[in-house]
Amino acid sequence: MNIIFYLIIISLVVAISFLAAFIWAIRSGQYDDDYTPSMRILVEDDMIDTNIEKQTNTNDVKN
């Protein structure tokens, strides 16, 4: 029976650490803007390198 008691305590500790992580996430402003990050991830820095290739492709199509 004792083992269950320990398990309960462990599970509570884990649950509380998740709650703490959630509170930290709110405090750091992650929930203030829930839309822009989904767009930001689609436009990345390295596009500058790949664009030359793409541009020649589109030009080919045009001509």
Binding site: S11, I23, R27, V43, N59
Partner: protein, 795 residues
């Protein structure tokens, strides 16, 4: 690309290249502005901007001459900044132009242009750009002018200076509370499992009840505490809103559970308690849906500029508008807004009051005449003497609180009405049950009494409005109709009278209709007229320009324009004159007094009559409203379009013309004092008072005007023609609420049966409460969804 019959699209902004066609590196541009932005981006290695979306740029305003000298004034800059620490400064710009992922990409890499910018972040929903910069390396003026250059002119107006409109921290409280309630709900539920499965003894041995008790403390004293506060306030005011039975239920749940745990008689209802608070908070969170880029509380300050040119000992300097006093001499340039009432001293004033008074035609003013704040000067610079400070001006006084009367029967939500009887009924039933059991079996009396209070907890009832109306809000916002809150929905359901403005609301200032009378133009003549029209910025002339068939622009020489009167020039060797009859010195035909006449080489060829037309497809709107509501038209314009309006609005409608902003306000006051519930639809500053006073004020907004006076709802101008459907839908949603109330009552009665017979066990409570809430939420959301699909078809 010689004769541009083929329409090419601008590589930068996607507009048609009609007037100019500039070829650069195989790409077409519609104007030099767009080409400049392209070159700027290219030189900085930023041209992948164009790969994210097609033609992402913002069309350049060709006639805009911006003056940013006021940003040299340190005091103004400090008032604009969010904070400044050492040489680090932060500014948040409103950029209504943000519309695609290319915008995001470009604006977040703005430091490629200006190394002084250390950080830039876009918030797409609120259309804001927050910038942190180093004051040693750059300054606000540079940043603003950079934004102008790349096509994102920030909204900088007087409203930005006052601290209360500055960024408020987003409300995170509800999220914290949701987190805490969700956490405890889950864990208590888990720890209650032994009991659900019939192992009460084991649960007791492990002291699970005590753990539950500790977990439940933050639910009652933190997450759900607001309900106690609100209930107490409501009891003291004797209004008995829904928070009273909620608080009563929560208190009973908590106290009875504590008693059971500490006396060792049971495990209590902590699981139901935590679940209850969690669901209520979800409802609250769902209801508080906000449109981040819209502002329902704007005052006149968001319309006026920050600075104006002031004469200080003979020199013209930029000066903060809020510090201008009576007697000061100011200068207003082309396209600038008059900051306060003044007397014209010098210059040719042509003032566009369409947004301020509703007059559709610009008004000519001569020296010595009064010009009112809010008008826009078209043409050359004028000088004027200030009559009073900005907050004392004729229009801005509309915002004075003393002008308003209280709206009668302010906000009695259905739910408050229901809850008054509900509270009374529950307390009565609980007492009757207590008396009954005290006589029959006193041992069970306490059990039954508390069980009634627990089970009657109006969780489902409390979730009906947040979810049903919250969903209505979302469904309508996706269709371009933005309502401030769920309370506004209930007020819309009560309206019985509709008051509507003409200019900019029924009529569309941008889509002018043009009728031509006279000789038919040859292709060459039409090309010449088009070339002449291209030179002017006058809105009517611009409309004629786009009315004429597409053709190449010819060279124009000796161009002369008298603002608001007419223009003449030599085109293709011919002498062209266009303008008012007075300008051409002729007697106009009847009905064509306000037409623009055309004269080529001393021959009157014809005339263009430019009129603002009612919006396309608006007829069904009034067709539906005619029989249901009392319709009144309040227009600041003269009655030249009376017959057209009469036809549109029906015989019964009341039509009032030449209304001042104060006349409009007084009319609404009269309606309210006669116990009507008026709905006011308007757009400009002149409607601001009436919008604020009416039961529901709806502002029509479009690209052309970003300013919306304080209101209860905002509608996109192209969606106005569907407003009757939206209002019909809102009225129908009331029946959805009644249905959900009925469901909630049925569940409550079932619970009461268990409670009154003293058979309510924690597991029944734990099943019944979420089940009833879930039913109500599902019914509320799905029925409104189906109704929306049926009723909001746009055809």
């Amino acid at each position: 690309m010689s004769q541009s019959e083929i329409v090419t699209k601008c590589y930068h902004c996607g507009s048609d290249c009609v007037t100019e066609d500039i070829l650069f590196e195989d790409k077409d541009f519609c104007c030099h502005g767009c080409l400049m932005v392209y070159q700027l981006l290219r030189d900085n290695g930023m041209d992948s901007y164009y790969l994210i979306e097609n033609n992402p740029g913002i069309a350049q305003d060709k006639n805009k001459n911006i003056d940013l000298s006021y940003l040299d004034n340190e005091e103004i800059v400090n008032q604009l900044l969010i904070f400044k620490e050492g040489n680090r400064a932060k500014m948040i710009f409103n950029l209504p132009q943000i519309h695609c992922s290319s915008c995001l990409w470009l604006l977040e890499r703005i430091n490629h242009f200006d190394p002084g910018i250390t950080n830039s972040r876009v918030n797409f929903h609120s259309k804001e750009l927050s910038i942190v910069y180093d004051t040693e390396i750059t300054n606000l003026k540079n940043i603003v002018s950079l934004l102008h250059k790349i096509g994102y002119a920030p909204e900088l107006n007087l409203g930005k200076l006052s601290s209360d409109t500055k960024r408020k921290d987003p409300d995170r409280q509800i999220l914290y509370k949701l987190g805490v309630a969700g956490f405890t709900f889950g864990n208590i539920m888990l720890l209650s499992f032994p009991e659900y499965l019939g192992f009460e003894k084991a649960a007791q041995e492990m002291h699970l009840g005590y753990i539950n008790f500790i977990l439940a403390l933050p639910v009652v004293f933190y997450a759900g505490w607001d309900y106690f506060k609100s209930a107490w306030k409501s009891i003291r005011a004797l209004t008995f809103n829904l928070d009273v039975p909620i608080a009563l239920g929560m208190a009973t749940l908590f106290l009875r559970s504590c008693y059971e745990v500490f006396s060792g008689t049971g495990e209590g209802y902590f699981d139901s308690l935590a679940g209850f608070v969690f669901f209520l908070l979800i409802g609250k969170w769902f209801q508080n849906y906000t449109y981040k880029s819209l502002d329902f509380e704007r005052s006149y300050t968001s319309y006026f500029p920050i600075s104006t040119l002031l004469n200080v000992n003979g020199e013209w300097v930029s000066y903060s508008v809020s510090e201008i006093k009576a007697g000061d001499e100011i200068m207003i340039r082309n396209e600038e807004i008059i900051p306060t009432d003044a007397i014209l001293l010098e210059g040719d004033a042509m003032i566009d009051y369409s947004f301020v008074t509703g007059e559709s035609d610009p008004v000519r003013k001569v020296k010595g005449e009064k010009i009112y704040a809010g008008g826009k000067q078209i043409g050359n610079s004028i000088k004027a003497t200030v009559l009073q400070a900005i907050d004392q001006a004729y229009l801005t006084k509309l915002w004075n609180e003393s002008n308003y009367i209280y709206k009668t029967e302010n906000k009695t939500s259905v739910i408050d009405y229901v809850s008054r009887y509900f509270t009374f009924a529950i307390v009565t039933i609980a007492t009757l049950v207590l008396i009954y059991w005290l006589n029959v079996n006193p041992k069970l009396a306490f059990n039954a009494f508390t069980a009634v209070l627990i089970v009657a907890c109006p969780c489902a009832l409390a979730l009906a409005i947040p979810f049903t109306y919250g969903n209505v809000l979302r469904l309508l916002s996706s269709r371009g109709f933005f309502i401030k809150s769920t309370e506004t929905i209930e007020q819309i359901q009560d309206i019985d009278s509709i008051i509507i403005d003409k200019t900019g609301t029924i009529t569309d200032n941008k889509n002018l209709s043009i009728s031509y009378n006279g000789e038919v133009l040859t292709t060459l003549q039409s090309q010449m007229v088009k070339s002449l029209c291209f030179q002017s910025t006058h809105p009517k002339v611009k409309a004629i320009y786009s009315y004429l068939p597409k053709s190449k622009i010819l060279d124009v020489s000796n161009f002369q324009e008298v603002t608001g009167q007419g223009m003449n020039a030599i085109v293709n060797g011919h002498h062209l004159i266009m303008g008012s009859p007075k300008f051409l010195d002729i007697v106009p035909e009847k009905g064509l007094e306000s037409a623009i006449y055309l004269k080529i080489d001393n021959n009157i060829i014809g005339s263009y009559l430019v009129n603002s037309e009612p919006r396309k497809g608006i007829e069904p709107l009034f067709e539906t409203w005619k029989n249901r509501y009392k319709i009144t038209l309040l227009s600041g314009d003269n009655n030249k379009e009376e017959s057209k309006m009469r036809e549109l609005l029906g015989e019964e409608a009341e039509l009032k013309f030449n209304q001042t902003p104060y006349d409009k306000l007084d009319f609404v006051k009269k309606e309210i004092s006669e116990h009507h519930h008026p709905l006011m639809i308007g757009d400009g500053l002149n409607d601001a008072g009436a919008l604020k006073q009416s039961s529901v004020g709806i502002v029509v907004t479009g690209e052309s005007n970003n300013f919306t006076p304080a209101s209860d709802a905002i509608i996109a101008e192209e969606k106005l023609i569907y407003l009757h459907k939206y209002i019909g839908f809102i009225k129908a949603s009331k029946w959805v609420i009644y249905t959900t109330f009925l469901i909630a009552f049925l569940y409550n009665s079932l619970g009461l049966y268990f409670a009154a017979t003293a058979k309510l066990t924690p597991i029944i409570a734990a099943i019944l409460m979420p089940l009833s809430s879930l039913t109500v939420v599902i019914v509320g959301v799905t029925v409104t969804q189906v109704l929306a699909r049926q009723m909001l078809k746009e055809s």
